[in-house]
Subunit: 334 residues, 2 copies
Amino acid sequence: MLASIAHTVPPRSYGPWEQVAATLTEGLVARGHDVTLFATADSTTSAQLHAEAPAGYEEDPLVDAKVYEALHIAAAFERADEFDVISNQFDFLPLVFSRLVSTPVVTTIHGFSSERIVPVYRAYDDIGHYVAISDADRHPGLTYAATIHHGIAVEDFTFGSGRGGYLLFLGRIHPDKGTAEAIGVARRAGVRIVIAGIVQDEDYFTRRIAPQIDGTSVTYVGPVGPAERDRLLGGAMALLHLITFDEPFGLSVVESLAAGTPVIARPRGSMPELIRHGVTGYLVDDQDAAVEAVQSLTDIDRSECRVDAVDRFSADRMVDEYEALFLSIAEGQG
Amino acid sequence: MLASIAHTVPPRSYGPWEQVAATLTEGLVARGHDVTLFATADSTTSAQLHAEAPAGYEEDPLVDAKVYEALHIAAAFERADEFDVISNQFDFLPLVFSRLVSTPVVTTIHGFSSERIVPVYRAYDDIGHYVAISDADRHPGLTYAATIHHGIAVEDFTFGSGRGGYLLFLGRIHPDKGTAEAIGVARRAGVRIVIAGIVQDEDYFTRRIAPQIDGTSVTYVGPVGPAERDRLLGGAMALLHLITFDEPFGLSVVESLAAGTPVIARPRGSMPELIRHGVTGYLVDDQDAAVEAVQSLTDIDRSECRVDAVDRFSADRMVDEYEALFLSIAEGQG
């Protein structure tokens, strides 16, 4: 299991790639597989840990990203003969090592940061065993082995009452995520909003978000760890996820459903795959529709959200699908 | 031959790594070796060219450095079985592929951009076959196969009269290279100075250099190609190379000597290995000594500079040394 080394595994707060690597690793170990997790030295895992980087390069300025990415990936490939399959949760760089070993590499594509990285995926399309994280994120020029939606440890999320009297924004503070749009909708609906997440775009935060924070109608609580996230999700009337980009997957969306909290989202990227319009939330085309959705939240049965999260987005379901894929690919090579 | 892909090979103006790769490749082909040059598609070579990147990532904004570095290096290693030895002129990234192939990799270390990249060199010290480009640049924690000074095509440089009535600065405009110091010395010595090279540090150029350019006592001619460089070097009384860092090698220093032009330099890094104090130039500790050196240039015999370049810094000498090293390493593996 080759994890990203931007953050520790599992991540302390932000780190969706590391979170998926952690969930998948724990699930495979629980099923009796012999797993080696390649991750930062400060990671916590039930698998055997192989670390080159002392810490995440986003978390420790002494860790040079390029240097430790190279050492980290090479370490996994130098030990390739020990493994039946390499699960690559690291983006495109490991692909370029994949022709030099006989162990199959299964690459989960966590999204395309830009069209400029597609040439690498295209160059290894024949042996890449690509996994899309949503059908929406499949690139038309590539061949995929499967689409596997992320799963989460649903049991770690408490089914909440949703009676906190606030709407929630949970995610990176970035124009992509529609933080400002969420504030606008909450104001028009006359409901308080709580904002949680790392500031990824400082300029956007300073100009568009910070001036609106007043501690009452608009509150910013910073990045949150698992316990605080659970509490915030459980009390929220809904998650406002008014993204302005084609998001390949939204972990916060399924986490919200696990807490019983419906999601109001733009119908972009993977959102139509994650949210059942009118059942577990609303897909809204514009601000008017979003405000209307807030006013229609009483029509949503929160227990339906929880049930849908358990049925479709549990860690077990994800591990099942990866396990089946790994087995079929390992056998295919044998 | 694995070249850098920042620039085309050979470089149009700036590009010392690419220049060395070009010179070494041409020399090896001339001796009858079967060489494949991995470089940008717009490169020119007598060897077989294998290109992944359409152009240099410093020259074409559409070329993503990380993407094409990965494809470029992988391509060489995927063909490793075809080669007796891989000459790595690319920095540290190819090292992490080296344990995955049986072909020996000889890595020329063109300098350490920072102490933070040393962990990679240390991790592959056992199989790295490192070549230092000067004794001064040897890192105490690493094992080296050889020190090989760069060589240049001395015949491409015309022995000049040095009667242009100006001092020359030739190199990147950057505090490291002492552009401002060179202007100061020229002014104090009462001699015109011509500045040639790319602007690498925009802020330094704008604040320290641009205000001094007057077109008469201080002239800036921008980056120069081979013909213009030859003309500028030949007419210069001396090259002012008042570096403020430990430069691992100075191609412009030996190019200057080839034109018969003495060099006035700080005694840092490789300079004491390149310049014979009092014979082919002066090693000076401070501005006073530099001004004095300008006034003592009549004591230098320009033909001695040329002879020294031919004897010690010819392409032939460099190719001899690399050829011997490659043969001994290839045999050692055989």
